[in-house]
C-alpha cells in the first residue's frame, strides 16, 4: 500500500468495498443456490410434484439403487433397481473416454503449435478458437447433418462404395452412443488443446537439444522430457473436459436422440418432465461431489498453475 497514504483500516475497507459486488453475486447466485439444492435433496415429492422439505436420505438411496417408496419396474417398493447406478456408470465411462480421446487427439496439435515459430503461434491458436466460439448448439446441429442416415458421411461412403462396385446400406450413425462420444470429443477438444499448449510453451527448447545431445531419440525425449513437463496442462485439460462432459445434457439429447441417457439428462428431466426436483437435487449434489472429488484428487496428485485459466 505504498501509494495510498491512508490509515490501514481505510485501505482494508476500500478493498472490501471493491470486492463487495463480486462477493454478493458469488454468494447470492452460486453459494446460496447450491445450499438450496442441498436442502432440497433431503426433501420429498408430494403427489403434485411439489417439494416437501423434510430430512430423508431416500433420494440418495434411490440413486444408489435402494428404492423405498418407488416401484422398480413391476416390483413394489422396497426394492433394488440398478437403473440410476447404470446411468451414473455410463456417464463416468463416457467422461473417461472423452478425456482420453481429447488428450490423444489434442496433444499432437498442442505440441505442433507450441513448437511453431512464435510469429505463427497466435494464428494457429486462433484456428483452434474459432470452432470453440461457434455456438455450442450450432456445432451439434452440424454433426446432425453429417451423421444422419441420408447425411454427408453416408453420402460419401455410398459414393466410395459405388466407385468400388460394392453394395451399400446407409449406416445408422445418429442417435447412437458413438455419436454422443463424437459430439463430446468435438465440443470439448479445444479445452484440452489450450492448457496443454500453455504448459508445452513454457518448456525451454534447449531441454530438447540437451536430450538429443545425450543420445535420446525423439520418442524417448517425448516420453522422458516433454510428457512429464506437460503434465500440469494435461491435468488442467482433464478437469476442463471431464467436468462439463459430466454436466451436460444437450449433446446426448440431440445426438443421442433420447436413446442415450446420462446423469445430465436424468437431472434435467427431474426439473422439467418428471417433476421431482428433490430427486434431481440429490442427483446434482452427487454429480457435484463426484466432479469435485476428481478435481481435488488430480490437483493434489499432480498440481497445476495458470493452465486452468488459459482456456
Amino acid at each position: 500500500m505504498s501509494t495510498i497514504p491512508s490509515v490501514p483500516g481505510g485501505a482494508r475497507r476500500r478493498g472490501f468495498l471493491l470486492m463487495l459486488p463480486s462477493l454478493l453475486w458469488m454468494v447470492g447466485l452460486l453459494i446460496i443456490p447450491l445450499g438450496l439444492v442441498l436442502v432440497m435433496s433431503f426433501g420429498r415429492r408430494d403427489p403434485d410434484g411439489n417439494v416437501i422439505y423434510t430430512f430423508t436420505l431416500d433420494n440418495y438411496l434411490r440413486l444408489l439403487g435402494f428404492s423405498r417408496s418407488y416401484p422398480c419396474g413391476s416390483t413394489p417398493p422396497p426394492c433394488f433397481d440398478a437403473l440410476y447406478l447404470s446411468i451414473l456408470w455410463r456417464s463416468l465411462v463416457l467422461g473417461f473416454q472423452t478425456t482420453v480421446l481429447t488428450v490423444l487427439i489434442g496433444y499432437p496439435l498442442a505440441y505442433f503449435i507450441a513448437r511453431a515459430p512464435a510469429s505463427r503461434r497466435n494464428s494457429y491458436l486462433l484456428l483452434v478458437l474459432i470452432p470453440l466460439w461457434t455456438n455450442f448448439v450450432i456445432r451439434l446441429y452440424a454433426w446432425m447433418i453429417i451423421l444422419r442416415s441420408q447425411g454427408v458421411l453416408n453420402s460419401v461412403l455410398g459414393w466410395l462404395a459405388g466407385l468400388l462396385n460394392l453394395p451399400f446400406q446407409p449406416l445408422e450413425l445418429l442417435y447412437t452412443p458413438g455419436a454422443v462420444l463424437l459430439g463430446m470429443v468435438y465440443e470439448f477438444l479445444p479445452f484440452m488443446i489450450l492448457p496443454i499448449y500453455t504448459s508445452l510453451e513454457k518448456i525451454n527448447p534447449s531441454l530438447y537439444e540437451a536430450a538429443a545431445d545425450l543420445g535420446a531419440n525423439p520418442w524417448r525425449t517425448l516420453w522422458r522430457v516433454t510428457l512429464p513437463l506437460s503434465m500440469p496442462g494435461i491435468v488442467a485439460g482433464t478437469i476442463l473436459v471431464f467436468v462439463p462432459v459430466m454436466g451436460t445434457f444437450i449433446v446426448s439429447d440431440i445426438l443421442g436422440g433420447r436413446q442415450v441417457i446420462l446423469i445430465g439428462n436424468l437431472i434435467q428431466r427431474q426439473f422439467l418432465d418428471a417433476r421431482d426436483p428433490a430427486f434431481g437435487s440429490a442427483a446434482s449434489i452427487l454429480l457435484m461431489v463426484l466432479t469435485l472429488a476428481m478435481t481435488l484428487y488430480y490437483t493434489r496428485r499432480f498440481g497445476f498453475g495458470e493452465e486452468i485459466t488459459s482456456a
Partner: protein
C-alpha cells in the same frame, strides 16, 4: 527457432484441423441448399428474392429469429457491462488490498470453473422460483404483476458466471503493473480518483476490453444456465435453435449459423488485435 517435424506430426495436425473445420464447412455449404427439408444437399438454391442468398433473405424476415437475436444481444450487452465493472473491481481489490474474507472471496471466484454448469443452473432455478413464489404469495401479486423468469433473471445469472473470468484476465495484467507511474501522478498532485481515471485505467484498458469481449462471447454462447433461467419472451438464439432441432429445420438455420460464424470470426480477430497491442 525452426524445427523439422516428422511427416506424421504434420499429417496428424492436418487431420485434427480438418476434424475441427469439416462440420463448420458443412454448415456453411448447407445454407445455400435448394432442399427445404435440408436432409441432403440438392444443389445451390436459386429462388427469388436474393437467388443463392434466398435463405439469408428469408432469415431476415423471420420474426422469431429476429426476436431471439435481439434477446441474445440485449442479454450479452447488459451482462457484459455488469460483469466487466464488477470483475475489474474484484481484480483491483484482490491484487492491491488486504481485507476481511479475502481468501473466501478469492476462492468463491473459482466456483463457476470447478462446478458443473448444470448444477449452477439448477441452483439458480431453485433460488429464483423459491424467491419469486415467496414474493408473489406475500404480496398477493396477480397476473402480469407476478414475478417470473425473463430477461432480468438471465442477465443476472450471466453476470454470475462471467465475473470470475473478467477478474482473472484483469488481475493477470495488474500483476505486471508498474506502480511507480501512479506514485509519479500522486507526487505531481493528482488525487487518488484522478490517478485512477487518468493513469491506472488507461494502462489496464486492453485487459479490461479483453475481459469484456470474453464475457460477451461467453454470454452469447451459453446454453445451460440460460435454459434454466429463461422465461416467456426471453428466448435466446441457442435456446431457439435447440427447440428447432427437435422439429424440422430449414436451411434458414444454416444461414443463421453462417452469419453467426462470421460475427464470431470478426470478434476473435478484434480480441487478437487488442491482445497484441497489450
Amino acid at each position: 527457432m525452426n524445427h523439422r517435424h516428422s511427416f506424421w506430426l504434420y499429417f496428424t495436425v492436418i487431420l485434427v484441423y480438418a476434424f475441427l473445420y469439416i462440420p463448420i464447412f458443412v454448415l456453411i455449404t448447407y445454407s445455400f441448399n435448394s432442399s427445404r427439408i435440408n436432409v441432403r444437399f440438392e444443389g445451390i438454391v436459386n429462388l427469388e428474392p436474393c437467388g443463392p442468398f434466398y435463405w439469408f433473405c428469408q432469415l431476415s424476415r423471420n420474426r422469431e429469429v429476429i426476436n431471439a437475436v435481439r434477446n441474445s444481444l440485449i442479454i450479452a450487452t447488459l451482462s457484459t457491462m455488469g460483469s466487466t465493472v464488477i470483475g475489474t473491481m474484484a481484480a483491483l481489490a484482490l491484487q492491491r488490498h488486504d481485507f476481511p474474507l479475502k481468501r473466501f472471496a478469492e476462492g468463491s471466484l473459482y466456483i463457476p470453473i470447478i462446478i458443473p454448469e448444470l448444477v449452477m443452473g439448477i441452483g439458480i432455478l431453485v433460488l429464483f422460483t423459491t424467491v419469486f413464489r415467496g414474493i408473489n404469495t406475500a404480496f398477493h401479486l396477480q397476473g402480469n404483476a407476478r414475478l417470473g423468469m425473463g430477461l432480468g433473471t438471465v442477465i443476472v445469472s450471466h453476470i454470475a458466471f462471467s465475473v470470475p473470468f473478467v477478474a482473472l484476465v484483469v488481475r493477470a495484467r495488474l500483476h505486471g503493473f508498474d506502480r511507480a507511474i501512479e506514485e509519479a501522478a500522486r507526487d505531481l498532485g493528482a488525487t487518488e480518483w484522478i490517478t485512477f481515471w487518468r493513469v491506472t485505467l488507461p494502462n489496464i484498458t486492453p485487459s479490461v476490453l479483453a475481459g469484456a469481449l470474453l464475457a460477451f462471447t461467453l454470454s452469447l454462447d451459453d446454453f445451460i444456465i440460460t435454459f434454466f433461467t429463461t422465461g416467456p419472451g426471453a428466448t435466446t438464439l441457442p435456446i431457439y435453435i435447440y427447440g428447432l432441432l427437435r422439429r424440422t429445420i430449414t436451411p434458414e438455420i444454416n444461414a443463421l449459423s453462417t452469419v453467426w460464424i462470421g460475427i464470431v470470426f470478426v470478434l476473435l480477430l478484434v480480441i487478437q488485435r487488442v491482445q497484441q497491442r497489450d
